[in-house]
Symmetry: C2
Subunit: 468 residues, 2 copies
């Protein structure tokens, strides 16, 4: 990096400009793959600092890579072209609730879990609940449009953001949306920017909407003898007339991984389990679970275990939370996908993943947000085994292509990042990609905001496993 | 219009190309103001026809104005620069439900009410319910991101669209989103296009998501002695722990207009009434209304009348539905605004509107979607009285500016169109407007898609009342 740039940044950030390689290495990875060491890191604490940095980046055409807690599963914050990592994790100062307006205003570094706690203190709820909520930042959630188990009833991050403050690629500070849930004043820049993975603007503040916290929850575990019926049961439950607040599936492989890891007395022989939560008035919840039970009986499923108290309920949700840690500790590298399909196609997707698993002789675990059709086929692989990595790449490609064939999508909630950009064309086509690129080019003509993400670069054809 | 263009369109549309002035006049207005006669009208029935028309418009740089049922309150479909009106109202052929996937696919001319009926036949619900649903088209709802009373709990049109087929300004056919609720594959073009008022692309098909139809509803009418307390009660109800499915307010003026019109035995002396609907399990509904009653008692409001049967309930909602017709029949011209403010600011907004009403000596009726902060101050005026029209213009400007000052927005659900474009700068600022314009320019470089909407043109400073 040129000395003049370092001097300029030094003036703004002083000890919050990180130059030493050992410091920069900490900013070279996320929860996906590849290692890319940035040239510099700045720890931003204000919109003004973001603006000044963008001005410098614009002047010298240097890439900026915004980064929260680096829990991204798609390579979102990876500085693939060097440049400056903009660390938002220290900017936690703003967390203001306006209970009468049902809104919260936050700075980008605030942890999602802290937002949950503050809202709940007022008997309100911030609905999006990515599994990483205890460590991830809201800024990252906004960039990637994070999901979570409650998505089936309550939607995703985008559905709870009504206003943003954003620094544009030209260094201008703009506000999108506002403090009202309804707003049709021109284009919906709020929803365009959320999920744009930091490629169209840098979010410096968000206004989130809250809803009343449901009075109570109840949870049941449904146990299946075959995976196909488990898949079929999802549409069945969702069309029975109740709206589950969570609906998560674990296949046999996931169940056994969790059981190995935590010994929770789970049914090791089951082909799959589905955890269903309903929420609302405590009187109605047993009735709603009865409606679900009846619907399941109609397709021959009768093994439904209802948690009888809060302790049992928490234990059931513990099972879902432990899937990822259980897989991680197995020593191999974990490749988490989130191909998503229409509800009625879930059984077909399960069948296909099973075929792919056998065809390529891979260790594939399937779990995910069943109620959204958002599955997380997760592959454990030894990254040093080049031949196996090749098989993984072919397998993932087949999963993606089949999801698209079924009318589904490459990514339900993790984002495209570096991981899936090679497959964008398959889903959106040349003209669709051109439409997206035209927006990017118009808003970031010098390509300084998180370059190397979302759009495939020349020659990229496969899953990016070995880009480090 | 040049002969070569007419010949080209004639080949495609034959008797569906309307050239006669008496036919074209029918396409010159909507439910807002101004009359603009298009040069030609084409009645489209397929994406291919849309593409071919766009190719011609692109070649000869002619504006295209998409139009549904022309119920727009903001001038959305008005052909302000002549050119071609693209009439979608005949394209009603596609209305396909996939109950297991909880989705419906529609062509743009389908009436919103027909979507409601089809979904309900399967015990499902398409939630957005603009007041014009018996006549408006889904295409218009998509273009304007239509709202409706159920917005307070269920959101607006945008929240129920998961995929679009769109013809771009270059005549390409692209698909955005898909058939899954979750999708983060690149930019969210679906949500960018919805509410973009036909200025970024022409929607030729939509995939809508459905939710289970709530089992039952109950409604109460709350009667207020003063408007300020009515405003305060809105936050109070929404933070009491229940989620009303509708929450509509009518001020004294509205109440009396409806009473004059339909004699429903309404409390003429009340400063305002609020209609609150709760939905869900029939056992819980009385409990939820009791929670609301208790919350209202805490601020000294005790006049709450609960509809005791379906007939009474329907009668209450009839009151809300009759507001617009009651105002229209008064003989004067109706100017409907939809300035929207944060919930806690509703009392201030009511106070201000009252001041403005007195200051300019105008007949202003206020009603609207209280639970969203989405008010519809509506002015009855004699358009032939130039002096009064001027007062209306000043009054509307003050309402807009105050809404923005309170952290609100110019438009909650009607759109900007021609009516409010002069005020865009006040809300989004120069840099915000430039950001929006950059998107427009990138996606429609020749400005052929619904030109003259959203963005202020040179010299436009006031409400467009006399643009005809």
């Amino acid at each position: 990096m040129e000395k003049i740039i370092i001097d300029k940044l030094n003036k703004i950030f002083k000890e919050r400009l990180l130059k030493a390689v050992d410091e920069r290495v900490s900013y070279s990875y996320d929860a996906s793959f590849g290692q890319h060491i940035p040239d510099l890191v700045v720890q931003v604490l204000s919109a003004e600092e973001v603006q000044k940095t963008v001005e410098i980046a614009d002047e010298f055409a240097i890439p900026i890579y915004p980064r929260g807690a680096s829990t991204s599963l798609s390579g979102g914050p990876l500085p693939v072209h060097g440049g400056i990592v903009m660390d938002f994790s220290q900017w936690t100062q703003k967390l203001e609730i306006y209970p009468d307006d049902l809104i919260i205003k936050v700075s980008p570094g605030v942890k999602t879990g802290d937002i949950h706690r503050l809202a709940e203190h007022y008997n309100l709820m911030y609905a999006p609940d990515p599994s990483s909520s205890s460590i991830c930042t809201i800024g990252g959630n906004l960039a990637e449009n994070a999901g979570g188990p409650r998505g089936v009833k309550y939607g995703v991050t985008k559905d709870y953001v009504i206003g943003l403050e954003v620094v544009t690629a030209a260094g201008k500070l703009i506000r999108t949306g506002g403090s009202t849930v309804k707003n049709v004043t021109g284009y919906d820049l709020t929803k365009l920017l959320i999920g744009s993975e930091g490629t169209l603007g840098i979010i410096t503040e968000a206004t989130l909407r809250l809803i009343p916290k449901p009075l109570d929850t109840m949870t049941a575990m449904v146990i299946f003898d075959d995976l196909y019926t488990a898949g079929k049961s999802i549409s069945k439950i969702l069309t029975a007339g109740v709206r589950p607040s969570k609906m998560e599936i674990l296949d046999q492989n996931s169940i056994n991984k969790v059981e190995d890891y935590a010994e929770l007395n789970l049914p090791r022989d089951a082909a799959a389990i589905i955890l269903v939560e309903v929420d609302g008035d405590p009187e109605v919840l047993p009735k709603e679970l009865a409606v679900i039970k009846k619907a399941l009986e109609e397709i021959g499923v009768s093994n439904v275990q209802v948690a009888e108290n809060k302790e049992q309920e928490q234990k059931l949700w513990q099972v879902r939370k432990l899937v990822s840690p259980a897989i991680v500790t197995s020593g191999y590298t974990k490749i988490s996908e989130d191909a998503t399909v229409p509800l009625s196609k879930i059984p077909d997707m399960f069948k296909k993943i099973d075929e792919i698993k056998n065809k390529y002789n891979l260790n594939i675990v399937v779990f995910g947000h069943a109620g959204d059709g958002n599955l997380h086929p997760t592959i454990n692989t030894n990254m040093r085994d080049e031949e196996e990595v090749k098989r993984v790449e072919f397998a993932v490609e087949e999963i993606f292509n089949y999801a698209i064939e079924l009318g589904g999508t490459l990514s339900g909630e993790h984002g495209i990042g570096t991981m899936k950009k090679a497959f964008m064309l398959n889903e959106v086509g040349d003209d669709g990609l051109d439409f997206q690129k035209a927006i990017k080019k118009a808003l970031d003509p010098k390509n300084i905001l998180n370059p190397g993400k979302i759009f495939p670069e020349k020659g990229e054809k496969r899953l990016v496993l070995r880009n480090g």
